[in-house]
């Protein structure tokens, strides 16, 4: 059996009155792409933050490469996992380039000075998300979609092993949703890397994720490979809404009736 990048054992997480998950166990192996689905308020973001070490679990263990999360230093953890936020503060006081460059922080030396290599990595990340030419723009003046791509570029510059993404398709146009998810999947499909994404769109999850975790928001959860989990019955159970499976041009879609 391969050594999991992230091992979750009997994890229980609560926030307020919501039991996000109870006794959740799963292994995230290198090369996998996980999707987290669930109704509004089920605690998907909270679970993502818990996996990233930003929210304390009530019980259970989270291990990165068999090491407990709490034993890993902040900077080392920032090289192991990177996060994309959904509702984090919108203040970006610097230029787009400076903001993306700040993703390099966990890789810098003690004095925190960027090397020419770091500048190169940031510039390439900006080009990868298609924002080249806007490097000197004040990040606050970017549109919602541009800002989302900037944050994706920041994550690419950070280059962690595990990407924990909250709604990566947020604010993006339909074509950009596909372009960005494809890009992220390609980047994190490499050796020793993996991806976990919270998604609202079940069809995007089915298209890009090989594993799914369904969070009901009452402590019940289901996890496994996408073909096992993404059934009519399960999706109906999750959202309490009738759905049907549509097959067209070799792909399967969930249609909300």
């Amino acid at each position: 059996m391969r050594n999991p990048l992230l091992h979750v054992h009997e994890l229980s997480v609560r926030i307020g009155d919501t039991q996000v998950c109870k006794g959740l166990s799963l292994d995230i192996l290198a090369g996998q792409c996980w999707g987290i689905l669930g109704p509004n308020g089920a605690g998907k973001t909270t679970l993502l933050h818990t996996l990233g070490g930003l929210h304390a679990a009530d019980a259970g263990q989270i291990l990165y490469h068999n090491r407990p999360l709490r034993d890993i230093g902040a900077r080392e953890l920032a090289r192991l996992r990177g996060m994309l936020f959904q509702n984090e503060s919108p203040d970006f006081p610097g230029s787009l380039f400076e903001t993306v460059l700040s993703g390099r922080h966990p890789h810098l030396g003690r004095l925190g000075w960027e090397t020419p290599e770091d500048l190169d990595i940031a510039r390439q990340a900006i080009r990868t998300v298609g924002l080249d030419g806007l490097e000197q723009r004040r990040a606050q003046t970017l549109s919602g979609g541009e800002r989302q791509r900037m944050e994706i570029a920041m994550l690419l510059a950070q280059a962690p092993q595990l990407g924990l993404l909250d709604e990566p398709s947020n604010h993006l146009d339909p074509d950009q949703q596909i372009v960005m998810l494809r890009l992220l999947k390609k980047r994190f499909n490499a050796e020793r890397k993996a991806l976990v994404m919270v998604l609202h769109d079940v069809n995007l999850a089915m298209r890009f994720c090989d594993h799914l975790l369904l969070l009901k928001g009452n402590g019940q959860q289901l996890s496994g490979s996408t073909w096992e989990i993404a059934t009519e019955k399960n999706i109906q159970w999750l959202y309490q809404h009738p759905v049907s499976l549509l097959q067209a041009q070799g792909t399967t879609c969930i249609h909300f009736l």
Binding site: H49, G52, L54, A74, R75, E76, L77, A78, R79, R81, G82, M83, F85, E88, S89, D91, F92, P93, G94, S95, F97, E98, T99, L101, S102, G103, H105, P106, L108, G112, E114, L119, R123, E135, Q158
Partner: protein, 330 residues
């Protein structure tokens, strides 16, 4: 593309030139004017004349103290603004100067000797720092709570100050008001403020990368490897201790800690690796110029320097604020 800070180094060079100019002006102007050509040799060579003594015994200690206190205040203001993520924060917003003032005015009222003033000020400031830390620390430490608790504490100190002032005999009032407005006429030992400035500058520069990330939001900074809670506590203690030191040397000098960091932000952006040294140079220069004016405008009488920093600071700040708002809507 080169490093984003490279274009900003010229700004630091400019500020260094401003600092040297203001230091020279302060050394040359006073009851006896000293010509520019005379200044440089006088700094290094004792010709046995009165000018040498004026420079070395009076002006140089005071000018260097003014520069260091101005630098410390600007640095403390910059740190408070970064900590509270509030552009209106200044070194005194959390009540550090209030605690110092109550202690000093209390000492004056009780007739304690003058030598007690600085230690009393530092003690009062320290008490206020620890009180606030204890209040905001219990339970959930966050900066909004810190700000609210601090502002309320400052209001409480302010009421106590008014109380002491109303009890004081009229003969003591001018001395108390001078202290409250900030005054450098007794700051004749520059070693302490310079040491505080150097130490504060080094620690702040060490924190600069983390401060840059903290601007992006707490969770994002944490996800990039900043221990944000620890950073907040450290910045709070550093900024407060710097303020306490400045207040105990020169009283509560207003506006330097508010306007110097703001002027720099407008000119150089948001990177603390430039903001920190820049704020020190600008704050130091501003206070040196204000103090020069304070001791020469109505010579032989001296004004409290805080009056001048406020008189300069209010219009400057309003101008910047309006320009900033106009810039944002444009």
């Amino acid at each position: 593309m080169h490093h984003p800070l490279r274009n900003k180094l010229s700004l630091l060079a400019l500020l260094l030139a401003l600092a040297l100019t203001s230091l020279s002006i302060s050394l040359m102007i006073g009851s006896v004017d000293i010509a520019p050509g005379e200044l440089w040799p006088l700094l290094w060579q004792n010709d046995g004349g009165s000018h040498y003594r004026i420079i070395h015994e009076l002006r140089l200690p005071r000018t260097v103290s003014a520069f260091a206190v101005g630098g410390v205040l600007a640095l403390a203001g910059l740190l408070m603004q970064a900590l509270l993520r509030n552009p209106l924060a200044d070194p005194y917003i959390l009540g550090v100067s209030g605690g110092a003032a109550v202690a000093v005015l209390g000492a004056m009222l009780m007739g304690l000797p003058f030598a007690w003033q600085a230690p009393m000020a530092f003690g009062g400031a320290l008490a206020s720092i620890l009180l606030l830390f204890g209040l905001a620390h219990s339970g959930n430490w966050n900066t909004t709570r810190l700000l609210l608790t601090g502002v309320v504490l400052a209001a409480g100190w302010s009421a106590l100050i008014s109380f002491v002032l109303s009890l004081s005999p009229p003969v003591q009032l001018p001395g108390m008001l001078f202290w409250l407005m900030g005054d450098l006429s007794d700051a004749l030992n520059p070693a302490l403020p310079v040491a505080v400035l150097v130490l504060g500058l080094v620690l702040a520069l060490w924190l600069a990368p983390a401060l840059n990330l903290a601007q992006l939001g707490t969770a994002r900074a944490a996800s990039l490897g900043v221990r944000i809670r620890r950073l907040h506590m450290f910045v709070y203690l550093l900024a407060s201790l710097l303020t306490a030191a400045a207040v105990s040397i020169a009283g509560a000098i207003g506006f330097v800690g508010l306007i110097a960091p703001h002027m720099l932000r407008l000119a150089s952006g948001s990177d603390h690796r430039i903001l920190i040294p820049g704020a020190v140079l600008l704050g130091g220069s501003l206070l040196v110029l204000a103090d020069t004016a304070a001791r020469t405008l109505i010579a032989p009488m001296q004004l409290p320097v805080g009056v001048l920093t406020a008189l300069l600071g209010v219009p400057m700040f309003l101008y910047l604020l309006n320009r900033g708002i106009a810039g944002k809507t444009a």
